[in-house]
């Protein structure tokens, strides 16, 4: 007797073919480049790679990148929660416009984002000369780099939260209010626990992008070695100076940070699988 397939099941040959195409694609586009980065970094052995890491300018770049992310990510987390909360739980005029505005950094080229800050804070810009009189430097300094990073990574948290919060509706918040909870209690005990996984995911993506941002930061940084060079900029600088081992070593650090981010995310998803499922059902 011929065995019948379930309506949702495909023949074995097709499954194998699709699987093979997928694996080949992932291997070529994702795994291979990553492997090349590590291979090039270690091309002259571990000693050379570690020598790059001991270099003062490299350490300064790592420190600057981590500092910029440490400022930009918490701020964007707060902004993102506030924006998503306002959009999902309240009605007000201009809501659609606000949603469009949040998406702006995704549609604007990062280079343009950087140039906007040059226009505003540059020495030929609107506020640059006035601020310089008070010895405040935004461009070619940490504040400019942080601003550019914030701009580029702004949508990540908000975009992750808005669909979920709209989907969850306002019922639970209304119930909390009738039960006597204050606005803050409602947020902390009801809203936040309901969005914590999406929030975590948004923060991780935001962080990954903050560490990796090149375009916008490149425009405002000024590329001062050991002072305003972030990790991605340092990679370019080393590469342009024919220091391939150095460039790929710093690139490998960036890649490791990204892999660490993914690892943390996967671990949390595995550890709290039950809770995760419960928050989506109901």
């Amino acid at each position: 007797m011929k065995k019948h397939l379930k309506p949702t099941e495909d023949p074995l040959a097709l499954k194998l073919l699709l699987g093979a195409i997928m694996l080949a694609f992932i291997g070529l586009v994702l795994v291979l480049p990553l492997a090349v980065v590590f291979r090039e970094a270690l091309a002259d052995g571990w000693d050379k790679a570690f020598a790059t890491l001991g270099d003062e300018d490299t350490l300064a770049a790592i420190e600057l990148s981590l500092t910029a992310a440490a400022i930009a990510v918490p701020l964007n987390t707060v902004f993102g929660i506030a924006a998503a909360w306002a959009i999902a739980k309240f009605d007000f005029p201009g809501k659609t416009f606000l949603v469009t505005l949040i998406d702006l950094p995704f549609s604007v080229s990062p280079v343009v984002a950087g140039l906007i800050y040059v226009l505003v804070f540059g020495m030929q810009g609107w506020f640059g000369p006035a601020l310089a009189d008070y010895d405040i430097h935004i461009l070619f300094a940490l504040p400019g780099i942080v601003l550019a990073t914030i701009f580029v990574t702004f949508p990540f948290v908000a975009r992750e939260l808005i669909p979920l919060m709209v989907d969850q509706g306002r019922d639970e918040e209304e119930a909390a209010a009738t039960l006597g909870a204050t606005g803050f209690q409602t947020f902390r005990r009801v809203t936040l626990p309901n969005i914590k996984w999406a929030l975590l995911y948004g923060v991780l993506l935001c962080n990954a992008r903050a560490l990796g941002e090149f375009g916008a930061v490149s425009v405002v940084s000024g590329h001062i070695r050991g002072q305003t060079n972030t990790m991605p900029l340092h990679v370019q600088l080393l590469y342009d100076n024919y220091d391939y081992v150095g460039a790929f070593t710093v690139a490998a650090i960036l890649a490791l940070l990204a892999l660490l981010t993914l690892g943390v995310k996967s671990f949390l998803e595995w550890r709290y699988a039950d809770e995760l499922a419960a928050s989506h059902r109901h």
């Binding site: 639970e172 209010a177 009738t178 039960l179 006597g180 909870a181 204050t182 209690q185 809770e275 109901h282």
Partner: protein, 239 residues
């Protein structure tokens, strides 16, 4: 000490959800707001619960300017059609919520809260399900949890928005008898929204028939049925 609703109006954009609704009910009454969809009954209930602001009009209850108080100070237990249980909390934590969010001075001790939750679980006949999550319960069980949660705050008023709307006919009938029983036991004033007239006439002391944002007639179930005072009421009840 009665509930007096005085010409409340509410517009959503150009749509008049409530157009001068008035109603008086004695303390401890079980009032059913009955009417077709769009007649304004849920809007009126949400205004009483503090979830919506009236454009004009007033309401007095227990000698208080009811509409001037924020929702969280009214102690009006609200039961939603879709239950609105806190999905990330167990049944017991859901019921305890209203007690746990009280300011430090008024909050009962932890042991007392636990005891109260046990009592309420018993009242709604869900003794062994305190540790479950809402997603693990049936619709009827969820609505009983929602009711227990609303009762935990010792409400002055119980507001129920089509509480059995999402349940099947048999469960509805059981629950409404039981709800009436709980209302009598708790001694609250209850306002109950429904579009099902059989349900309204079976449980309520007072039936208020609503149409186009107004209350057309209020009275005891028998009186309303015997003497419909407007063409709309007689047509609606006859249907």
């Amino acid at each position: 000490m009665s509930l007096i609703i005085d010409t409340i109006s509410k517009r959503f954009g150009r749509f008049a959800a409530l157009d001068g609704a008035s109603l008086t009910a004695p303390q401890g009454a079980f009032v059913a707001l009955l009417g077709p969809s769009g007649s304004g009954k849920t809007t009126l209930l949400r205004i009483l619960g503090g979830l919506e602001q009236a454009d004009s009009g007033s309401a007095r209850f227990a000698d208080m300017n009811w509409l001037d108080m924020p929702a969280r100070q009214r102690k009006a237990g609200f039961v939603f059609q879709q239950y609105a249980l806190f999905r990330h909390m167990t049944v017991a934590r859901n019921i305890a919520f209203g007690l746990e969010v009280r300011p430090r001075g008024e909050r009962p001790a932890r042991a007392r809260i636990k005891q109260r939750v046990e009592e309420l679980l018993e009242l709604v006949q869900l003794q062994d399900l305190g540790g479950r999550y809402p997603s693990q319960l049936s619709g009827g069980q969820r609505q009983r949890v929602a009711l227990a949660r609303a009762l935990a705050i010792e409400p002055r008023m119980l507001l129920l928005d089509e509480p059995f709307g999402a349940l099947d006919a048999k469960v509805r009938k059981e629950l409404r008898i039981w709800l009436r029983h709980i209302h009598d036991k708790a001694g609250v004033t209850s306002v109950f929204v429904t579009h099902d007239q059989e349900e309204a006439f079976a449980v309520a002391d007072l039936v208020a028939v609503m149409n186009k944002g107004r209350i057309e007639q209020v009275g005891a179930p028998d009186a309303v049925r015997r003497e419909p005072r407007t063409p709309f009421v007689s047509e609606f009840l006859g249907a």
